[in-house]
């Protein structure tokens, strides 16, 4: 039988959801207008006033927000409540240049954790479960979000964070974890480790909630078989709170967006025009209940499709497909956001040419990233040690910028493929 964390909300009829959205949107626009000069200015530039927004129908009149806005307004420019009302920040992985800092009031955290609790409950979680959370804890939203949701459901929560496979497996076995929360690639890695160590009969897992990176249906099948569990997808981004913006139910055919908190739109990424339901386009979110960091019409850059088709789970909230790609050049590698421009910055700083190629692949269910860089006369030496020394410097500068290890491969000049005179910067070999 399907379980719900907040049944009345999750199964509310369309009219009720719309009524919530209309009321909350109007209130939220006023809140932002009054408290966020940055967005108010954007509205003024577009000739929109709070009175123009009377319902969700009027949403398209509002200006978009993008990651560039977040960067420009860093750190406090989009804050809508006094700092003394805020109790927490979370931040995206990545660099100073691209870092996003999101603020939360206690109320914001409550609602976020409710969303995660809905996801855990949809995956079959109850207060009798042991929830093993090995998303990273700290600035990353994965750990704190699922941790809070797990508390709300009443699961015994294992705040494992990531890494240290031995300890992960020991706790998983000894404390009889039943629900696993982590990135799908880490789940696949743990599944392999469990097999190698012959622990398959000793684990009690029944469900997994896996997000923060793209994964395929094949990968789902693989994890489900190896661990004997049902694997659920979860979606979210720091800008809109974190994981739990949308989550999968037992049907496993898309993720229900928590529409009482977020209004979703699909737009044409080139024109910004709103597309009809069922179209493939860029996902845009408006947070209608957030207090501290309420982004209106935030462009996620994720390409997907929304559907309101009736779901067998009984939930009425709109479903989004797995993201099918990006409308910008951002890559997600090991759950970390990587922009080619960050790599370019490092190369130039380190005295390498901005002629490079990024190769992303997935080996044994784990993402790899390799940066091909052309050798230059200035960087070349008859002494191999000096070249490897420079290469090491580049690797650590990339690590500092990206937060993950990227392999560097020095190649001969003019050996990086150019098509139509323009270099192909990214080759993503992952089959997702």
């Amino acid at each position: 039988m399907e379980r719900y964390y907040q049944k009345e909300i999750e199964t509310a009829d369309r009219e009720q959801i719309l009524a919530w959205q209309n009321e909350r949107l109007v209130k939220q626009v006023r809140h932002v207008w009054d408290n966020v000069p940055y967005y108010r200015k954007k509205m003024e530039e577009k000739g929109v006033a709070p009175e123009d927004i009377q319902s969700v129908e009027d949403l398209h009149k509002l200006p978009f927000l993008t990651k560039d806005d977040l960067r420009e307004a860093y750190p406090y420019g989009l804050l809508a409540t006094p700092l003394k009302n805020c109790v927490r920040i979370q931040s995206t992985s990545g660099t100073t240049g691209r870092r996003v800092v999101a603020f939360y009031t206690q109320h914001d955290i409550d609602l976020w954790e409710d969303c995660c609790a809905r996801a855990i409950t949809a995956a079959g979680g109850t207060d009798g479960d042991v929830c093993h959370v090995c998303y990273g804890y700290g600035l990353f939203t994965g750990g704190p979000g699922l941790n809070g949701g797990s508390h709300k459901v009443g699961c015994l929560t294992l705040p494992m964070s990531s890494g240290n496979t031995d300890r992960q497996l020991q706790f998983m076995v000894d404390l009889e974890a039943t629900i696993l929360c982590c990135t799908p690639s880490y789940a696949a890695f743990l599944a392999e480790s469990i097999h190698e160590r012959g622990l398959r009969d000793k684990i009690k897992l029944k469900a997994g909630i896996f997000g923060a990176e793209a994964w395929s249906e094949e990968m789902r099948q693989d994890i489900q078989e190896k661990l004997g569990i049902k694997a659920y997808d979860i979606y979210g981004l720091t800008e809109t709170s974190g994981p739990g913006v949308a989550f999968e139910c037992s049907e496993q055919t898309g993720m229900h967006i928590n529409e009482d908190h977020f209004i979703a739109e699909i737009i044409d990424p080139d024109t910004g025009e709103v597309l009809p339901e069922g179209s493939k386009g860029e996902l845009v979110f408006t947070a209608i209940t957030k207090e501290a960091f309420p982004l209106l019409r935030y462009r996620t850059r994720d390409i997907c499709v929304l559907t309101r088709e009736k779901c067998s789970c009984g939930r009425t909230h709109v479903k989004m497909s797995k993201p099918m790609g990006r409308s910008d050049d951002m890559l997600i590698v090991k759950g970390v956001n990587v922009f080619p421009s960050q790599i370019e910055t490092v190369l130039l700083e380190q005295g390498y040419p901005a002629n490079y190629q990024i190769i992303v692949d997935r080996v044994n269910n784990s993402d790899t990233i390799e940066v091909m860089v052309e050798m230059t006369p200035e960087n070349f030496s008859d002494n191999l040690g000096k070249i490897t020394e420079m290469e090491k410097g580049l690797v650590s500068a990339l690590k500092a910028m990206l937060g993950i290890y990227a392999k560097v491969r020095l190649v001969a000049p003019k050996s990086i493929t150019r098509s139509e005179g323009k270099a192909v910067r990214v080759i993503d070999k992952r089959k997702i």
């Binding site: 050798m375 070349f380 008859d382 002494n383 190649v411 001969a412 000049p413």
Partner: protein
């Protein structure tokens, strides 16, 4: 007395070395010594050729990255302990050898080794003092 060495960047892929030797042979450049230092992904090819300026111009034209470095040619007696004696002298003078390799063939019962140190003139002087001869370009048939 130093000898000019050409060092070329080699990407670790099939045919790179063959390309270089082909280009040199097409242009009638003769190689006197060759050495490769490599990692898994790339390497440095070090060459002593009969006409270094001609060879480097041609390789540059073909898009290779290279650098010219002065190295010292040392006459090493082709007998047991020959190299050991030379290294002993260099070590006593507290000079670091970055790398070394040998020249094809030998002359008058002596092998020729190429040495790269930071202070090439210093090395020549130290060897001279110890009665170890250095080998000039003309001895190797360099133009």
């Amino acid at each position: 007395m130093t000898i000019p060495q050409i060092s070329v960047f080699l990407e670790n892929k099939a045919g790179q070395l063959a390309d270089i030797t082909h280009i040199l042979s097409e242009n009638e450049v003769n190689m006197r010594a060759l050495n490769i230092a490599e990692t898994a992904d790339y390497g440095v090819l070090r060459l002593i050729v009969d006409d270094a300026s001609k060879a480097s111009a041609i390789l540059l034209e073909h898009g290779f990255i290279l650098t010219m470095t002065p190295v010292v040619g040392v006459a090493v007696p082709d007998t047991p302990g020959g190299l050991s004696k030379v290294l002993g002298v260099i070590s006593e003078a507290r000079m670091d050898v970055e790398y070394m390799y040998s020249v094809f063939g030998q002359k008058d019962g002596q092998a020729c080794m190429i040495f790269r140190v930071a202070d090439t003139d210093g090395l020549a002087a130290v060897l001279d003092k110890a009665g170890i001869g250095t080998i000039g370009g003309e001895d190797l048939g360099l133009h």
